[in-house]
Symmetry: C2
Subunit: 255 residues, 2 copies
């Protein structure tokens, strides 16, 4: 409890250090309660604001979660979804499941998708670049929120050149068995390769809401471009998901 007000290190950081240490060492197990702010003012001899700032630090690091009126607890971490590049092989697609559905099925979680938008939009720059179109050229987008195990798992926007999706179920809410990749292949665009680009950052306010993110949890943006055997980019899949719940695995040759 060694808080030293005369130290160079600010008191609120010392208090944060104290609890971080307890958590790291497992003496405060996930789910365990931290003392209330009022308690801390007594045991550490500080004002309420100072106790509060210490907790702010831990919240910002994602170590604890606070519920108004109930107190502050050590965060419990759910299992992580391991997204391996093999999930997108033809064999897996042939099983009749789209990418995300297959992932969730593998984990035994029930799955559902919520369609947020379906229709033509002008291509944002990052999409246009990858589809080899000009910025603001019309593209077809399927914008949805994917749920797994009753929790929002990712925001996923799939973009397609218009000519590839007209008259296919890709423009409908249900893209059919095997997902939209299966539809593209039926239409003669046999998929040849994927490029995935990953980037982590803090979420925007909207993303925090849409994914029910705790404070202090980053998101991963995954952008996947699907290329057909003719070398044409036929889809850009642009998604955002909680970094907390996802781990990405890629296997590749050393040659």
């Amino acid at each position: 409890m060694d808080i030293d007000p005369s130290s160079d290190r600010p008191v609120f950081k010392q208090i944060a250090d104290y609890f971080r240490d307890l958590i790291d060492r497992g003496e405060l197990a996930p789910g365990a309660s931290l003392p209330s702010e009022a308690q801390m003012t007594k045991t550490f001899g500080v004002a309420g604001g100072t106790a509060r700032r210490a907790l702010d630090v831990l919240r910002g690091e994602g170590l604890v979660v606070t519920e108004h009126g109930r107190g502050t607890r050590v965060r419990e971490r759910g299992p992580m979804l391991r997204l391996a590049s093999q999930r997108l092989t033809r064999a897996n697609r042939a099983a009749g499941l789209g990418g995300f559905a297959a992932d969730m099925r593998a984990l035994g979680l029930e799955y559902r998708q919520e369609m947020l938008h379906l229709g033509e939009v002008p291509a944002p720059r990052r999409i246009a670049e990858r589809l080899n179109l000009s910025v603001d050229a019309p593209v077809f987008v399927r914008r949805r929120r994917m749920w797994g195990g009753g929790e929002p798992m990712q925001l996923a926007d799939s973009y397609y050149p218009l000519d590839l999706v007209e008259g296919t179920p890709i423009t409908e809410e249900n893209a059919g068995p095997g997902g939209s990749y299966a539809r593209l292949e039926e239409r003669g665009h046999r998929l040849s390769s994927f490029r995935e680009e990953l980037h982590a950052r803090m979420p925007s306010e909207d993303e925090k809401r849409a994914l029910s993110l705790q404070p202090g949890v980053p998101v991963v943006s995954l952008m996947r471009t699907a290329i057909d055997t003719g070398g044409r980019a036929v889809e850009v899949f642009d998604s955002v998901m909680s970094a907390d719940k996802h781990l990405f695995q890629y296997d590749f040759s050393a040659d």
Copy 2:
């Protein structure tokens, strides 16, 4: 400047919203100064603590950086390093550069590595699992901090089974041309494949210091396992780097 003290939304969040909006819309360009806290107390009619909390929010989101005595500015984002899986092909290794050195060379940044530790350590669980050893079995580690363009870029620990590195330059500060992968191949362990596992999270205090991370910037943990043609794991490369400065790209077949 529409701050409404009677709104449900807390005043400090409204102030944060106001500046976030200016930044998003580009009206406050990277490098531009925000008003001082004292200024804000006047223009928004709030106490100092409230103005400060608004800035805390923006700092936590990584949108602004504050320098003591100098003020708060919109963060300037440096260029991102694109780490493509192709960087580890044999052709690139043959060019005589280790993985990181090649990346930095490609960007025209000068490069240097700082050795933090070189020697035997008991294998942590995550390493032992990947090298197929038991936990705490002795392994050889090269623990270093990589610098690029004068900034710390990553913390990188390479772990090796003891029998693979004894008597090789891998145990020395300079592993020689082509890096340790080249040494392993010379010793008859021709590399066959790599597995990379990525995961993003907020940094620990130590990582923040070692990588000079701004508040509100997540890190990416990249763990790479190198497999030789005999199917043996010959190295685990365990690294942590600023999410701000790195983007990861993987190309793989759709078959």
